[in-house]
Symmetry: C2
Subunit: 339 residues, 2 copies
DNA sequence: TTGTAGGCGTTATCAC
DNA sequence: GTGATAACGCCTACAA
């Protein structure tokens, strides 16, 4: 019913060396594939190490070499439930795929603000060689200044400008929002609302700005704004508010697909037809766009590719290359049924 | 447009000691809150350390103390996309919440088999003090024998018995499946199919066994089985096959909600009414049960609580406590509209 | 091609 | 209460 965890003393380099009849240096070199080691020695050492079940102690290795060969992917969201966002998951998939191909090991962490301290210390304690931050859904705070202790790449423009600046990759949020709204205008819509994210977040602010600009250049007032929180619940609440206060709405641009899908649901339940009565455009072209009750027209964003790109960037930085501070990925309108 | 990553040499204990006018030992003790250090010294050292931005080097710390204060949560799934499973995410949330409250740091890793080697080495290299394995959706392979190098707790009975055995927490899969099928029988259904997971996985096999047993004791043949892969796609395909080959089906027990929801969708599209023509019962009571086109009747499983429990168990093992090998959590039928 | 020796930044065991 | 002084397990010049 219960058992002791065995002491399980793992073999050290020293022990392998003794067993193989050589010195630690030789074993180290053989196992790390360094040049100038005889093939015979390599083979022999490998066999002995394998037989003994030797696994190098990573802490010792990091300490001695000043590198950990690990990269952290930080999700600065309150909880693991943030993983409900398909865009985020896609970015993670891209990062993961790219890092897998490298010699580095990926190490995910969800940073609820409560324990930010713990994570910040971890990230700066030398056990990861670089950090990837994925999310435009929350403030970055301390993460913004992490980069003078360890290389960092953001997905989504950081919430604040810093000196020196942070590396990041992002879409042209304002531009994309403009395209979305223009599409709605092209459909003859004149009362176009937006469901956005918290204003102090870059992606939210920029998308709202794009919406506003497009309306302005069409000579229309930009008065229909509801702030959501990127979740289905928040999106639904925002849509209900908008509908209550402005029953004449005929178009909606939501800052992400999850909120757009929720908005569609609210509209249908309120007896509005989508897109006949109200046309809806989302953002991300994530899986949420397809599973919505009316398949969403949306601004596509290469989420998975973005993940690969940010991983790539970090890898290059770690390799000592010079890389651009910002990388912009393409976005384009994907037409489906909702608009 | 580009910039150099600064050398950024971090202060060491040594440097803090010099600055504070004491020795490394004292600084170490003061910072780690050890007894027998004068309050004045503690205060002084803390101030100096903070001013210098000192962050202990975790590699050195682990090496010297033989403990890393980190725990890994391994998701042994082919890709990050496994995160689409709401049950898994709930387990993760539970684990995360529990570990956050401890002194340990949680460290997620997705283990596609391709890089199993990399992760296995990581897990046994001394940089994590314990391992949590979350998923009954794939074979465990090497993970099964990890426990003679580092403490491990599984969520879901491991696919194979080992000696010594692995710690795990799980629901009574066969029993729960029996309850589900009995419910269908109680509704007068007689042609009850099951959509299961790959047979070599514990949760799948046990649930199918429970389904089979319940039918047997009702004197009915257990001939309607379709194997899915826990995903919506797999569930839909399985349902289509069942429907083609056995148009007389009037009940379905799916091994998880995601497949059940997909099955409902296929049934509706085929013109069957749910639950009037075909009653469907799922498993997990995850968010997928609520978002299905017909809200699902399902066998609830305390996913988040399971996560907390497994974290708890590991923490206790690390604290040197004796704990039971297996922990069974409760499951019960949740009635909604689908059956 | 291989061995020698010092050091990476902490903790921990002694004395003082 | 604080200071020396070994480890901890590995890497890496440098020497041979």
């Amino acid at each position: 019913m219960a058992r002791q965890t065995p002491p399980a003393r793992r073999p050290t380099l020293e022990m392998v060396a003794a067993e193989a009849g050589v010195t630690r240096s030789t074993v180290s070199r053989a196992l790390n594939g360094e040049p100038d080691v005889s093939q015979t020695t390599i083979a022999h050492v490998r066999v002995v190490a394998a037989r003994m079940g030797y696994v190098p102690n990573r802490a010792a290795k990091s300490l001695a070499s000043a590198r950990s060969m690990a990269i952290a992917l930080v999700i600065p969201e309150p909880g693991v439930l943030a993983l409900a966002d398909p865009h985020l998951v896609a970015v993670m998939a891209g990062v993961s795929r790219r890092i897998e191909q490298s010699d580095y090991l990926l190490n995910l962490m969800v940073a609820g603000d409560s324990e930010n301290q713990k994570i910040m210390r971890y990230l700066t304690s030398g056990v990861v060689d670089g950090v990837l931050v994925a999310s435009q859904h929350s403030r970055h705070d301390a993460l913004l200044h992490l980069h003078d202790l360890v290389p960092v790449v953001f997905s989504g423009r950081p919430t604040e400008e810093t000196d020196p600046p942070n590396y990041f990759i992002d879409v042209d949020n304002a531009g994309a929002a403009g395209v979305a709204v223009s599409h709605l205008l092209g459909l003859g819509r004149r009362r176009i609302a937006t469901i956005t994210g918290p204003e102090d977040m870059a992606a939210a602010g920029d998308r709202t700005a794009g919406w506003r600009a497009a309306l302005a250049s069409a000579g229309l007032p930009a008065d229909l704004v509801a702030v959501g929180d990127w979740t289905a619940l928040g999106g639904a609440a925002a849509m209900r508010t908008l509908l209550d206060e402005h029953p004449d709405i005929d178009g909606v641009f939501a800052a992400n697909d999850v909120m757009a899908a929720a908005a569609v649901s609210v509209l249908l339940d309120a007896g509005r037809r989508v897109p006949e009565d109200v046309a809806v455009v989302g953002f991300d072209d994530s899986s949420a766009a397809l599973s919505a009750r009316v398949p969403l027209t949306t601004m596509s964003q290469p989420s998975e590719r973005s993940g690969e790109l940010m991983a790539d960037l970090l890898l290059r930085i770690l390799a000592g290359e010079q890389v651009p501070i910002s990388t912009v990925v393409e976005s384009h309108l994907v037409r489906r049924e909702s608009a």
